[in-house]
Symmetry: C2
Subunit: 336 residues, 2 copies
Amino acid sequence: MTATPLPIALDALAGDVGAAPNVEGAIQAARAGVSVTLVGDRTKLHAALASHDITGLPITVEDAPDLIGMDEHASDVRGRKDASINVATRLVKEGRAAAAVSLGHSGATMASALLTLGRLPGVDRPAILTHIPTARGFGAMLDVGANADVKAAYLVQWARLATTYLRVVEDRQSPTVGLLSIGEEDHKGNALVLEAHPLLRAATDLNFHGNIEGRDVMQGTTDIVVTDGFTGNIVLKLAEGEAKVLFGWIREALTSTMQAKLGALLVRGALRGIADRLDPSTYGASILLGVRGLAFIGHGSGDARAVKNALLRAHRAHQAQLLQRLDAELRAAPST
Amino acid sequence: MTATPLPIALDALAGDVGAAPNVEGAIQAARAGVSVTLVGDRTKLHAALASHDITGLPITVEDAPDLIGMDEHASDVRGRKDASINVATRLVKEGRAAAAVSLGHSGATMASALLTLGRLPGVDRPAILTHIPTARGFGAMLDVGANADVKAAYLVQWARLATTYLRVVEDRQSPTVGLLSIGEEDHKGNALVLEAHPLLRAATDLNFHGNIEGRDVMQGTTDIVVTDGFTGNIVLKLAEGEAKVLFGWIREALTSTMQAKLGALLVRGALRGIADRLDPSTYGASILLGVRGLAFIGHGSGDARAVKNALLRAHRAHQAQLLQRLDAELRAAPST
């Protein structure tokens, strides 16, 4: 991989922990050939960089004295032009960055991206697409929180965005689309699903599988799971929460007796692969699809590995010309 | 435990497997002192019983020549008075059975219970309450599938039903209620949640905790999780599906190398407790709350242990006079 001339803008003081994981992740990504612009209070960023040797690495700093706190309102992005997330999305808008990545306030990141970058043609509302580990590798689910109340047509637009995303960035040529519901039969679901089903069925550019159920999400029955942002957010957080609870139980069980402790020493290596597979850091960040620019939203608790993987993913999306491809596919799509 | 004079009516040929798990589960429950009436085609039931010695056990047979198949419509219960589920709910209605239990068509079971038994006062729609394993033991979630589209007032009624259920049957005196949403803050959620939140807050007879997120479900943050039947059904099936996928991965990992295999022998016992905790059979069946009678709906794939536990739970609910308590609490409740 050679260094791209256009850097990824990282909202580098955002997130639960602040500078450390951002700076470390940026350095790891830069070592892998990705240019990074750290956006944030200049003094703080230089202080955070001081303990690292970044000689020769493609890392720069862009000053942004303001930061939207995790407890502030997403709508605060409107008036605060010096807020780091606004500076980051503006760099994308102005063609000075390939993508914006933030582990900060996800509502603010969405709002900033939407206000600064605008929407792609044929998209009513942008959606957040996340990767979920499945029995078949990983799947893509959207929306996972940008839109709590949605219209049926949005689901078709999102299926379209996700299809192109997987095609371009993950090299899946004809990804299948599942509509999350409470029964596989066409006539089962809530009012939204019942309305969306025939629209998805009619969209000839999509590989629509039909309705899927909660159990299909981690089975990986389809490449893509489309759902409203309320259900998707709950599914995502439940899946992460359950993995955490189960691994807590396993850890407890493996230290419960001398025999189990001994066995644990032998199986630890084998089990670590599963924990890795379930770790959200593996996927780095979720992408906000539907805005006219690349924007990625990470977990506030993400570590350096999450930041690095988010930057690599953003870089890959840019290299693959995701935005241009999305734009082209949307323009060519049959109207819904 | 002494035998109750009033038996539990079991829809004994229903479910994916048919007679075997039902008859075996009934025998196990009868040995524990629970009277059971097996409802179904008399000839088939006597054939299934032939290989067992039930001398002295409180098991009887009630003939019901018809059975609603898993692929038929729930509405079919209307015209088919000899269908086993209709015979079972009629036994409850006529005071000849304490409760009806079925592992069959869940939509048909709901429809039959609602049509035959009617609703309790102050209940617009019955809901299915299920038990979910959590880090703190187990929790109760409703609705998990009876109502895909709901009104805010239903959620308050369901919180009330679940509160009394846990108080009476599980001896939790002041169970906490969480409203499933996409953020803990009062102002986060979809339109339904935003409307339900203040109603729940205003219900002085409830111990309302506030909004909870997907991750709280298995953490057991609250005793009760209230949500619409669409979200609840997806959450339930996702939780079961994820456990299955993760245990599949663990099984694979523990047989991946000689070292892991050796370790697996030592940790197997310790891990089995976790699998048990996650096994839906442990909880037996879900209860349909809001109808004027006790009705339980089990997994179609339930085994004899699931049937036994469903019968024991139904027996306990009857002994504790759940129905009378629900009726009294609903009459005393402040209007919503």
